[in-house]
């Protein structure tokens, strides 16, 4: 132990610390919570950045004793949420504060930069941010943030445009107004689950399987239970006999219930074997070491090909049940079941066949593909492979739960609070009214927090012990026991006439769901449902089969299966264009859909049921293609900087959805407070994307009041109304749509009350700034405050409220095109993305600055998937690179030299104020755009992502 003195933000702290303690842990204990941890001390992400004696350092790589006597600055020194410094404000205004787990660290670094270089160059900004991993908004808008801060420092105001503005007749919608929760997030004030944990909590740790496929023959917890402080140990022997699945989807789920909390059979390295709850983490870890497990190790399978093989080991070999639609031969089918495998329960038939490792399957077609292929002059068939990708949210999966008033209360970092409530209730076998889920700010989800991966266990542990329980994944657990992108093998057969007209397309998708069937139908289906409808082709057919295996779990990931389907479909189209001698861009223009085209293909692309056939509505596809081609100078050959560097251009058409018509549901309610301000309660889960800001703008726009007179409460299952959650690009469209309707209902009710109080006709009344009802007939005015006061004075009609419920069968599809220019080094296989232009139609971008940030972030993420990222397993199924340095994510060094996000202005007829979705679609373009650009540069087709230098060299015949 050493006694040290730290001067933190000029405040003196003298503390006794163990010599091995990190500076971060001491700072957090002293209350400087902005110093966060994303990498367990890897020195990579930078959420733990502080300034020591005017030098930036990682607090997790620094021992507290190292900085005895030093001056330390944390983000708390910059400004509070009510008094932000210029940099913090500029970050919010520019749109870079999104999920924001390390936004305080970024603010600290940029403030430090401007103190040393008041007019920094782009290169200096890049350098200072080089030690910070930003996954949500990319990096591009940080340059804008710095520019804004410089301008405001010099002149007191901004001169540069923050983001384009949309819809001149609107005041808040379509305008950059800042994120309503930005101040709290950028200042590092309590916002995340970890900030809610109270002293006296119990720690939960998990014993995980070292084997990819094994039965637990025996588990002995007797010695572990003797460890002081241990409250309980949960194993397959004492956990509830309840089958469920962890995907937070619509109910009944199109995923099989194929697991219990803990299973007798482990199905991947990292699978749960035991959960230990103890008074301290150290005690829980000590107990974990004392658990003795005897395994019967089975042969694992890791690939689709292995899963498909005759006689392949069965990942699930238990009893199959159906909640509805059971086949008549089910008893015979179950004769071979092994009780140690448990059960697989389908809510309805998904064409699964677990004895052949098939978790689900789907088929569909329009027209006659064989006839279409016969009509073609050229037919090609190509197969494309994608690998397993990790979401890497900066805040790992985390949950804190406790009992309050006899109810189970969970503070969760989730995209689906209402599904968390339902699934935890099901696991604990308690009704939903006994559970409250409070969605905190989410430090990055990207799909993986659509799955209920930790709340099930933490909720159950709390329910049975009655103790407050806290759990947080280590970064390694994020890799091995989390949702990832399904690896897929996509075969596309495509035929076309000489003039480039596509006559038929067939897609065969084989997906690897890993040990459990989370999203086993919906994610792979998206490989077809979010790509085939781009083409105006009469003959199309698809087959989607998803296999169980023993890789790390898969599940939802931003874009679902669309990035993989898009990669295969677009690249195949480019290959076919090359084959028949037609320009790829011309071929895209010739075969793309346009407004009014009837999307018959959607009939077979519903999620477990028949889909709705609708025409293409608002559509910015053509404009995206035309403007993108102009920007990148399509067809103009560019020379490389030296002979070994070859330059090429490529692009891809992209689309996604705006939620799931007929499945998703948004609800909201709003009330007028007694002083004329507003509160709106949205079921929608803001995961950093700006959904709460969308919600607030619905009120501001409807009532002509500034955003600071509107408070948003969201994602709290007690106070808010049901919402299916933040996935499938549904936030703005469905949750925002519900808020729009709630605001409209409140507006109607407010006008009705005003008419009564003012003695006027409703038709003569309008609302205006600064928050009053105005009679166009008499000129009378009634402030919202007076109106509300009268309504609640004992003689009025009560609180003015409004509700909104949003559902639709309409498909407001966002469209776009991403263009890339790459340079390929023919000697080293290196690839530089010189230009990347992401053009997208998001309808009316309600928060344009945040929309741009999401676009940049998703595009950079997909560049990462295309070129760098890959989870690599050894022959035993162990992940060899479960950390950032080994996994390789794109950081500011990898940002394209010329990176532009363009919002194509198209107004949608259904979405709130014409809005559609924005971010998921942006993950779909990079792989095919870069693949086609590489071909343009060096003549090779990259049919397996990531396109590493080694693969490039192999294709070039160098190795």
């Amino acid at each position: 132990m050493s006694r040290i003195t730290l001067f933190v933000n000029k405040k003196k702290h003298t503390v006794e610390v163990e010599d091995g303690r990190t500076l971060r842990s001491v700072l957090v204990e002293l209350g400087y919570r902005s110093v966060r941890d994303s990498d367990d001390g890897e020195g990579f992400v930078g959420s733990d950045t502080v300034i020591v004696d005017d030098i930036p350092v990682y607090a997790n790589l620094t021992l507290a004793v190292q900085v005895d006597g030093c001056q330390i600055r944390t983000a708390e020194s910059l400004g509070t949420s009510r008094n932000l410094n210029i940099v913090q404000q500029a970050m919010i205004d520019s749109g870079v504060v999104q999920s924001a787990y390390n936004a305080p660290a970024a603010a600290l670094l940029l403030t430090w930069l401007l103190e040393h270089h008041p007019q920094p160059t782009r290169e200096q900004v890049k350098e200072v941010l080089s030690g910070l991993f930003i996954r949500d908004s990319g990096y591009e808008q940080f340059y804008t943030a710095v520019q804004l801060a410089v301008e405001r420092s010099a002149s007191g105001s901004y001169q540069s445009e923050i983001a384009p503005s949309f819809r001149d007749h609107l005041t808040y919608v379509g305008k950059a107004k800042g994120k309503v929760d930005g101040p709290v997030l950028v200042s590092g004030e309590p916002a995340f689950v970890e900030d809610r944990v109270q002293p006296g909590y119990y720690s939960l740790v998990v014993l995980r399987s070292p084997h990819a496929h094994a039965y637990i023959k025996k588990i002995d917890i007797s010695e572990a239970l003797k460890v002081e402080g241990v409250e309980t140990i949960i194993t397959h022997e004492n956990c509830p006999d309840v089958y469920y699945m962890q995907a937070g989807q619509s109910n009944p789920e199109p995923s099989p219930h194929d697991r219990k909390l803990l299973n007798q059979k482990v199905r991947h390295v990292g699978d749960r074997v035991a959960a230990i709850v103890a008074e301290t983490e150290q005690q829980a870890l000590e107990a974990r070491d004392k658990i003795r497990v005897e395994y019967e190790v089975l042969k694992p399978i890791f690939t689709v090909e292995e899963a498909m093989a005759e006689g392949a080991p069965r990942v699930h070999n238990g009893v199959v049940e159906y909640r509805s639609g059971a086949p008549s031969d089910l008893d015979a089918y179950n004769k071979d079941a092994d009780p140690r495998d448990g059960k697989v329960v389908y809510m309805f038939p998904l064409h699964g066949d677990i004895r052949r490792n098939i978790a689900s399957a789907a088929y569909g077609k329009i027209g006659d593909v064989e006839k279409g292929f016969a009509e073609a002059d050229t037919v090609i068939e190509r197969t494309y492979q994608t690998t397993q990708i990790q979401c890497t949210p900066l805040e790992p999966h985390i949950c804190y739960a406790r009992i309050e008033g006899g109810r189970l209360v969970l503070n969760a970092s989730t995209q689906v609070p209402f599904h968390v409530r339902r699934i935890v209730g099901w696991v604990c076998q308690i009704p939903e009214n006994k559970i409250r889920v409070i969605k905190e700010r989410v430090g990055g989800g990207y799909g993986s927090k659509q799955d209920v991966l930790v709340e099930d266990l933490v909720g159950y542990a709390t329910w049975i012990t009655g103790k407050p329980v806290f759990y947080r994944n280590t970064r390694e657990e994020e890799f091995i026991a989390n949702s990832t992108r399904h690896p897929m093998r996509v075969t596309v057969k495509m035929g076309a006439k000489k003039d480039g007209t596509i006559t038929a397309v067939e897609m065969d998708v084989r997906a690897n769901t890993g040990p459990y069937g989370n999203h086993c139908l919906t994610v792979p289906m998206n490989a077809c449902s979010k790509t085939l409808p781009l083409l105006a082709v009469d003959n199309m057919k698809f087959q989607v089969i998803t296999y169980y295996s023993n890789i790390a779990p898969t599940g939802a990931y931003q874009g679902y299966g669309a990035p993989k389907g898009s990669y295969a479909l677009m690249t195949c189209m480019a290959e076919l264009a090359k084959e028949i001698g037609v320009d790829y861009w011309q071929m895209a223009m010739k075969n793309k859909v346009e407004r009014g085209y009837m999307l018959e293909i959607l009939r077979g692309l519903g999620e477990g049921r028949e889909g709705n056939v609708v025409p293409v509505g608002s559509c910015g596809l053509e404009e995206s293609l035309v403007r993108g081609a102009e920007m990148i100078e399509w067809g103009k050959k560019v020379e490389g900087p030296s002979p070994e560097w070859k330059v090429g251009k490529g692009f891809a058409m992209i689309q996604q959805g705006s939620g799931l018509p007929g499945l998703d549901h948004g609800n909201a309610w709003a009330k007028l407070l007694t002083d004329g301000t507003f509160q709106i309660f949205s079921g929608g889960a803001d995961i950093g994307t700006g959904l709460d800001t969308v919600t607030a703008k619905m009120i501001s726009e409807a009532f002509c009041v500034p955003l600071d007179r509107v408070t948003v409460t969201s994602g709290d299952t007690d106070s808010c109304t049901f919402d299916t959650g933040a996935f499938a690009s549904s936030g703005t469209y469905f949750a925002g749509g519900a808020s729009y309707k709630a605001a409209e209902d409140l507006r109607k009710n407010l006008l009705s009350e005003a008419a009564l109080q003012m003695g006027e006709d409703v038709d003569d009344l309008s609302l205006r700034e600064p928050g009053e009802v105005y009679s166009t007939k008499t000129g009378a005015v009634l402030s919202y405050a007076d109106l509300s006061h009268t309504a609640l004075s004992g003689t009025g009609r009560g609180q003015v409220m409004g509700t909104g419920s949003f559902t639709t069968l309409h498909n407001s599809i966002p469209y776009g095109a991403h263009f890339a220019q790459v340079a390929v080094n023919t000697r080293t296989g290196e690839i530089k993305v010189q230009k990347f232009y992401a053009l997208q139609d998001a309808g009316t971008p309600i928060n344009p600055e945040l929309a741009l940030g999401q676009l940049y972030g998703a595009a950079l993420k997909s560049i990462g998937h295309t070129l760098y990222e890959n989870m690599i397993l050894d022959e035993e199924g162990r992940c060899l690179n479960p950390n950032f340095t080994g996994y390789q994510v794109p950081m500011i060094s990898e940002v394209p030299e010329d990176f532009k996000a363009i919002l194509i202005d198209v107004n949608d007829e259904v979405g709130p104020y014409g809005a559609k979705s924005i971010s998921e679609i942006a993950t779909n373009g990079a792989a095919p755009a870069i693949a086609t650009a590489i071909h343009d540069a060096v003549g090779i087709w990259m049919r397996s992502w990531p396109f590493t230098p080694e693969k490039i060299l192999k294709e070039l015949g160098k190795i």
């Binding site: 020195g43 970064r475 060094s893 190795i959």
Partner: protein, 277 residues
């Protein structure tokens, strides 16, 4: 994991602390010792902070770089040659560069050392301190090749400074990684002098391949000096044949051999053209 952190009052004190504490390590910037997944294992860290080892001094015929000079200091100093700044920049994180030191990075002598290949290729010398068996303090100047060859035996030696000669010598390095902050599959360096009549001498060929440590290719060095290898292609082939490599998650052995040989061949080509020194 460090359990005890000892602060030395002077260099002799540091050496005494090291001698008296089993399982101790010199503690420089801490970026490796404290890092998740570090290969270093020590209970005791002996701090080198405050010992005056963090300066860069022009000593006339050479530049003396204190072992505690950070990678960012190297980049910021006008005294440091471009090839060494390049090596410092291979550490792509600005924040980490402010913490990691040249001494710590060299002492790692591992395949993920940013600077070791280039420093070995530079023929620099190292100023070291030690205690004799009787406890007397001594300083020595050790050629970097000796430190490279016997670095495990240097575990108790304290690296005080790196001395870079200002002779007319080409030094260049390359690092190949999928991302700037990811593991490198190969980091290579080449150093040599061109004398009268285009005679090539004092060649150093160094490669750090992931999973295979740092390799000095003396056969290739000798062949270049003797004129046996004179073209870029010859050098590439020879390097490829001599390198030891393993398959791992960073890349195949075939790729690593190829890319390292390509990098060294590029540097050799630059040297022949009279490239940057």
């Amino acid at each position: 994991m460090i359990q005890q952190y000892l602060v030395a009052s002077n260099i002799a004190d540091a050496l005494t602390l090291k001698r008296n504490n089993a399982k101790s390590l010199w503690f420089a910037g801490g970026t490796e010792i404290n890092r998740l997944g570090s290969t270093l294992d020590a209970k005791v860290g002996i701090s080198l902070k405050g010992l005056g080892l963090d300066t860069i001094i022009d000593e006339g015929p050479s530049i003396r770089i204190g072992a505690m000079v950070t990678l960012q200091q190297l980049i910021d100093s006008p005294l440091i040659p471009a090839w060494l700044k390049d090596g410092a920049r291979y550490c792509a994180s600005f924040t980490r560069r402010h913490m990691a030191t040249i001494g710590g990075n060299l002492a790692l002598m591992s395949d993920h050392s940013f600077l070791a290949p280039a420093l070995i290729a530079s023929r620099c010398s190292l100023v070291t301190a030690n205690l004799t068996e009787g406890g007397a303090y001594s300083e020595d100047e050790v050629p970097v090749r000796e430190y490279y060859t016997y670095y495990k035996q240097h575990a108790t030696t304290l690296l005080l400074a790196i001395s870079l000669p200002k002779d007319k010598r080409y030094v260049g390095s390359r690092r190949y990684a999928t991302t700037a902050q990811g593991h490198s599959s190969a980091a290579v360096a080449f150093g040599a002098m061109m004398g009268e009549g285009l005679v090539i001498s004092h060649v150093r060929v160094v490669a750090a391949l992931h999973g295979s440590g740092i390799q000095r290719l003396t056969t290739v060095e000798n062949a270049i000096e003797s004129g046996e290898l004179s073209s870029r292609e010859d050098v590439q082939l020879a390097v490829r044949q001599e390198l030891e490599a393993v398959d791992d998650f960073v890349g195949s052995s075939q790729y690593k051999r190829y890319i390292a040989s390509e990098g060294i061949a590029q540097l050799f080509g630059e040297f022949l053209k009279g490239g940057a020194r």
